[in-house]
Symmetry: C2
Subunit: 191 residues, 2 copies
DNA sequence: GAAATTAAGTCAACATGACTGACATAAACG
DNA sequence: CGTTTATGTCAGTCATGTTGACTTAATTTC
């Protein structure tokens, strides 16, 4: 209790602070803080619809993320997934195992390097992804429309710049791979 | 703009396929999915810096959210906070208690309704918020700059539209209250 | 071909922050 | 006065994140 008035000289380490001290005006700071708040609210609601659907399957948001990446970049390796999600093998293992056991994802040994397990969505997996994505796509499309012309391009530039510079190559490489649309190509072996 | 979307009658319950209308082209869907992915990456990195700092204090992201709202909208009631965060009393209670016990937040009975506990940041709380916000403000400012002129206004319109329509009044009302800048000036405990 | 490295899977143990539902208190309202 | 409201709290559960150590299989390196 009590180092209330302590000046917070944290042990943390010299993180951030960026080069030449950037000092925004208080008004500018308040404006950016409000933007951060908006981002929080937007993201909160963006994830809400799929979260609700997932509950019916006994899944959580972690499953959604895995399903999304496996569907949109099908054939990626477990290591790629770990990289994209930035979680531990253990964490991923739990949800991935469930998704595999329940038939939403299959794995296949890599043809060049057979240690690698390449991940693919099953038809059921594609159908579930499609269903989870549906409300999000509508929300995104509506919001882009509301934001007006040009907003989409600006938004993409903004979001890309928000990503850690060191991570950008990794992200680009993942995003460049099999940018596949939501196809449930007929056969719905489950849902 | 295509009329990919229309009514947005999608309360998260009406799952599966939107009516008959609203079918985006596969290419458009892929493009929006990529946008969703970017949003995930951006948000992931946006929260990373403060998360790292918080660990040094034994706090988590939940503490950050509470601190942020109490600082930016100081004097809000516990009920307002529950509304903003969309979590349960129990969940909030835990982190709020820690923040109060450790001297980052103080509460004061409302003057009109003494049942209400109005929340205020202490000097230590303001200092911590400032420190947590610093990397985020820099990131936001940089990203806005990278996105080019006009991006900020478009982004705000986009984010606002991403929020559930029913939630917007609540959000507006919270955001309208005491949009305070990051000042860790004099002033100590709650007024 | 043996050794080292790498990709993946797994174990145990643990922390955080969500949840539910029930209940206690104090203040305000009618 | 009794009811409702705002808050706080108890007990228990669940999802998802963490670390560190270890196994297995395949590839690479010497």
């Amino acid at each position: 209790m009590t180092d209330i008035n302590e000046p917070l000289t944290q042990p943390a380490d010299r993180r951030v602070e960026t080069p030449a001290a950037r000092k925004a005006s208080p008004a500018r700071e308040a404006s950016l803080l409000a933007l951060a708040e908006l981002l929080f609210f937007a993201y909160r609601d963006f994830t809400r619809d799929p979260d609700t659907i997932l509950k019916d399957f006994g899944f959580g948001r972690a499953h959604h993320r895995v399903l999304h990446f496996v569907n949109c970049h099908s054939g990626l390796r477990v290591a790629d997934l770990l990289d994209a999600l930035n979680i531990t093998k253990q964490s991923l293992g739990r949800v991935l195992k469930q998704l595999i056991d329940q038939g939403y994802i299959v794995q296949e040994a890599g043809s060049v390097d057979r240690r690698e397990r390449l991940l693919y969505p099953t038809a059921a997996g594609r159908a579930l992804v499609k269903r989870l994505a549906a409300p999000q796509l509508i929300r995104l499309a509506d919001a882009l429309k509301a934001a007006g012309p040009g907003a989409e391009a600006a938004l993409r530039r903004f979001l890309e710049a928000m990503i850690n510079a060191e991570e950008r190559p990794k992200v680009s490489s993942i995003m460049a791979s099999t940018p596949v649309a939501l196809e449930d190509d007929g056969k719905g072996e489950a849902s």
